[in-house]
């Protein structure tokens, strides 16, 4: 920019724009906050939700022993490429929301959806009691007592549920209980789409 002869009109215009800038910034910020508040109501904006780094990737390599007494086989990464979509569900007997989502998992299992279970940081006897009392929705069940496999998955709490498509890629992750609402609005359509 040259300093030669300041054009008074352009300078006045610039000054006006400058004086409007705070209002414009505040307005944009306000619109953003409004969108956030609306998103909080509809669930589109969730300050606490954390996305999974696994989406679009194959699950990590792992191999977990079975839970004695269930008769179910253990779980390893190879079991997750079955040519059809499936769910992987981390749970624990000590986790209250797991109890809430359990009926939904049972419903899915009855409808023939393959659900792989991983018992997270749970005493085997407690997991067994939990499943005996409430039913077993799982086709396979691995025991991750140290919680290391869970960290490879990027898990940050239980329950967490992952949807894996027929080619073995993670497509969706739910942190927290799968409620009926989530089941009908998200899980079932996704299973259909990736079938």
């Amino acid at each position: 920019m040259s300093e030669a002869v300041p054009n008074p009109e352009a300078a006045a215009w610039r000054r006006r724009a400058l004086l409007l800038a705070p209002l414009a910034v505040a307005g944009l910020g306000g619109a953003g906050f409004y969108a956030m508040l609306r998103g909080l109501g509809t669930g589109d904006y969730d300050p606490r939700g954390v996305p999974s780094a696994l989406i679009g990737k194959a699950p990590p390599d792992f191999s977990l022993p079975p839970l004695e007494g269930t008769g179910l086989p253990g779980l390893s990464a190879a079991d997750l490429k079955a040519g059809k979509p499936m769910l992987v569900n981390f749970f624990a007997s000590w986790c209250v929301p797991c109890v809430i989502e359990h009926p939904q998992l049972m419903r899915l299992a009855r409808n023939g959806v393959a659900i792989m279970g991983i018992a997270y940081k749970d005493k085997p006897a407690d997991s067994l009691g939990f499943l005996k009392q409430r039913g077993t929705p799982y086709a396979r069940l691995g025991v991750d007592q140290p919680g290391r496999v869970a960290i490879d998955w990027g898990l940050y709490g239980v329950p967490e549920t992952y949807l894996i498509d027929k080619s073995g890629i993670v497509r969706w992750r739910m942190a927290g209980p799968v409620t009926e609402e989530i089941l009908d609005q998200q899980v079932i359509p996704l299973l259909r789409r990736h079938a």
Partner: protein
């Protein structure tokens, strides 16, 4: 009955605020002296009614009136009385009421002490303050009524978060709110100036004490919160760059810039538009913090239980006050022309640089606080912005700020030369350099702490050099005392506040050298840290009023000499079902010896021991900064209500400015 009286008093306050706003603004517009004259008594009326409402809430807490929902949710009969009282503002509804009470206090103060303001300006300021009060009292009544009843009453309350049950935290919100809300007054002055289209030296002189007062309280409030985190959270940390902490830092930074630029307006009639903008910004940042903490858009440890409906109302209030302020700014600021001229190297130049850097730091803090939210909203991506970011991004801005704050005060107004200014400070610079080298020599290659020590010594000595120079301590020591007495208090206050900043940097640098250790210790065993021996004597039960505790006894020895006996505790609160750790701290001012008791197992106890060099100086520095603000405030030139303002001013200028 008493809660209903409180509710009624608040409704009455709403009506009185409406009247005050109308009378103040319309009266000033029509130059109707009778209308304008009514604004002051109305402001007192608002103060009385809001204070009555607040007293009613406190009464409900002290009496543990379990028919009041707010009391049930936040109090318990077993709580000590002090925390019953502080519990009244330890929750969303009550803290909003406290916010409004402080706003009403400010209105009352403008009414009581603003007698020498031009009556139109006073009426407008009162009118705008009333508009702010109107919005927030309406907000309380509509969405956050603290007097709501519950029937049948439960047997007792649900307690207060035990972590909040602490004297430091009891007084943290009132101080913080005194700061936040104090900026409402400078905001009101700015809006009034925009309406009148006039900003002059007198305006600067009226705004500055309010900016000073608000800033000093905010400094104390933030420091108290930080100190609380230090001793209560038991981690030895004092600042976490949590969004809620940032929300209090933003108005502090804006206010700090404001009170410096107001000096330029007062002395040189320059930077007027900018100062008005900062006054709007400081209050805007206060309101932004209120929104962030209470709306639920934010994800923080400290956030109140939140509700998007409340958030929407606060956002509407923000749109009115901030949006309205900036709209008026865009429309009217054109009218204000600068008159003072100065070159880049001058006192004004240093103050401009100070403003630029403070505002840039504020921009970084604001961006770091809001970026995760907006990235989530706009890009759908989740980021965390934590201490590593803030420390990295702010450091390069803080370094030149330290240069500006030391060189600025020793430079004359209008036009200066850098070399003479540096000449005045050569021994401070030398000492700072020596401190830096010394730190390297003793502590090894630790860049952060070394720079910190260097900067701290430089800032403290520069402030002393400034005063010594002004009273001609070295050139004419005999006249120094007389000159010292003649030096305006604003000069003393400014130097003290700057030295306080140096003291704080000293503490921060010291904390950079903190060490700690974590051990499982059996009774009789000891742990060595930083040359001291910490011996666990034993762990015993220690009952409290509404908690049970395990208390360890730890003897600290320096060789054979017993330094102190520390008693860290682990408290469990049955009502809140929480466990807290109470760190035991012994300070000898050179370092804090800080012991935390962890779990007990295998016949021993886990002890975490911190050696925090110079830690108390962080908060001492902040207290000095606030004290400096207070001393400046007591300057007669600044205190507009003083009848003898004129002569002192003339004298002060002679002694104070050397141009």
């Amino acid at each position: 009955m008493i809660p209903e009286i409180g509710h009624f008093a608040l409704a009455l306050a709403l009506a009185l605020s409406l009247a005050q706003a109308l009378v103040g603004l319309a009266g000033a517009q029509r130059a109707d002296a009778r209308l304008m004259g009514a604004a002051s008594p109305l402001a007192v009326g608002v103060l009385v009614t809001v204070a009555a409402a607040f007293a009613c809430l406190v009464w409900a807490y002290v009496a543990n009136d379990t028919t009041v929902l707010n009391v049930v949710q936040n109090s318990h009969s077993l709580k000590p009385t002090l925390y019953k009282i502080s519990g009244a503002w330890g929750n969303h509804e009550g803290s909003m009421l406290l916010w409004v009470l402080i706003l009403a206090l400010c209105g009352g103060a403008v009414a009581a002490f603003g007698g020498n303001l031009p009556s139109a300006l006073q009426a407008r300021v009162l009118g705008i303050l009333a508009l702010v009060a109107l919005g927030f009292i309406g907000f309380i009544l509509a969405t956050s009524n603290p007097f709501e009843r519950i029937w049948p009453p439960p047997l007792d309350g649900q307690g207060l978060n035990p972590i909040l049950q602490d004297p430091g935290l009891a007084f943290h919100p009132p101080l913080l709110y005194l700061g936040y809300v104090g900026f409402a007054v400078t905001y009101a002055f700015a809006v009034a100036a925009l309406i009148e289209g006039r900003v002059d030296a007198a305006w600067g002189r009226w705004v500055r004490p309010w900016a000073l007062a608000a800033w000093s309280f905010l400094t104390l409030g933030i420091a108290l919160g930080s100190w609380w985190a230090y001793y209560e959270l038991g981690w030895g940390g004092y600042w976490f760059w949590d969004p809620v902490e940032n929300a209090s830092l933003l108005p502090w930074l804006a206010g700090c810039a404001l009170l410096h630029s107001a000096i330029v307006v007062e002395k040189r009639e320059a930077l007027k538009t900018w100062t008005v903008f900062l006054a709007l910004l400081a209050f805007g940042m206060s309101l932004l913090g209120t929104f962030l903490v209470r709306s639920g858009v934010l994800n923080s440890v400290h956030a109140f239980a939140n509700d998007p409906a409340r958030g929407t109302v606060i956002l509407i209030l923000l749109a009115i006050y901030i949006g309205g302020g900036f709209l008026l700014f865009a429309w009217r600021a054109q009218a204000m022309l600068p008159t003072g001229v100065f070159t880049p190297v001058s006192r004004e130049g240093a103050l401009v640089l100070n403003n630029l850097l403070l505002c840039s730091i504020a921009a970084v803090v604001l961006a770091g606080t809001l970026y995760p939210m907006f990235a989530d909203l706009v890009l759908g991506e989740k980021f965390s912005v934590g201490p590593p970011f803030f420390n990295t991004a702010i450091f390069p801005l803080a370094v030149p700020l330290i240069g500006a704050m030391t060189l600025g005060p020793v430079m004359p107004w209008k036009r200066a030369r850098l070399f003479p200014a540096l000449q005045r400070l050569w021994w401070a610079a030398l000492a700072g350099l020596a401190a830096l080298v010394l730190c390297f020599a003793i502590e090894g290659y630790r860049v952060g702490p070394a720079l910190g020590f260097g900067a701290a010594v430089w800032v403290i000595l520069a402030a002393i050099a400034d005063i010594a120079d002004r009273i001609a301590l070295f050139s004419r020591p005999r006249a120094a005392w007389a000159r010292a007495k003649g030096l305006p208090r604003a000069a003393w206050g400014g130097a003290l506040a700057h030295a306080g900043m140096g003291v704080m940097i000293l503490g921060l640098a010291g904390m950079g050298l903190a060490t700690d250790t974590l051990r499982l210790v059996k009774p009789g065993e000891s742990v060595a840290l930083a040359g001291l021996d910490y011996r666990l004597v034993g762990v015993a039960d220690a009952p409290g009023p509404n908690f049970s505790a395990r208390r360890a006894t730890v003897e600290v020895r320096d060789g054979d000499r017993l330094v102190t006996v520390l008693a860290p505790e682990r408290r469990s609160f049955p009502v809140a079902r929480m466990t807290t750790t109470e760190a035991a701290i012994h300070t000898n001012w050179l370092a804090d010896l800080y012991v935390v008791l962890g779990e007990e197992r295998d016949g021993g106890a886990v002890l975490r021991i911190h050696h925090n060099p110079l830690a108390p100086w962080i908060w001492l520095g902040a207290a000095l900064m606030a004290l400096g603000g207070g001393i400046s405030l007591s300057d007669r030139r600044v205190r507009v209500s003083a009848p003898a303002a004129k002569p002192v001013k003339a004298k002060g200028v002679k002694a104070g400015a050397r141009a």
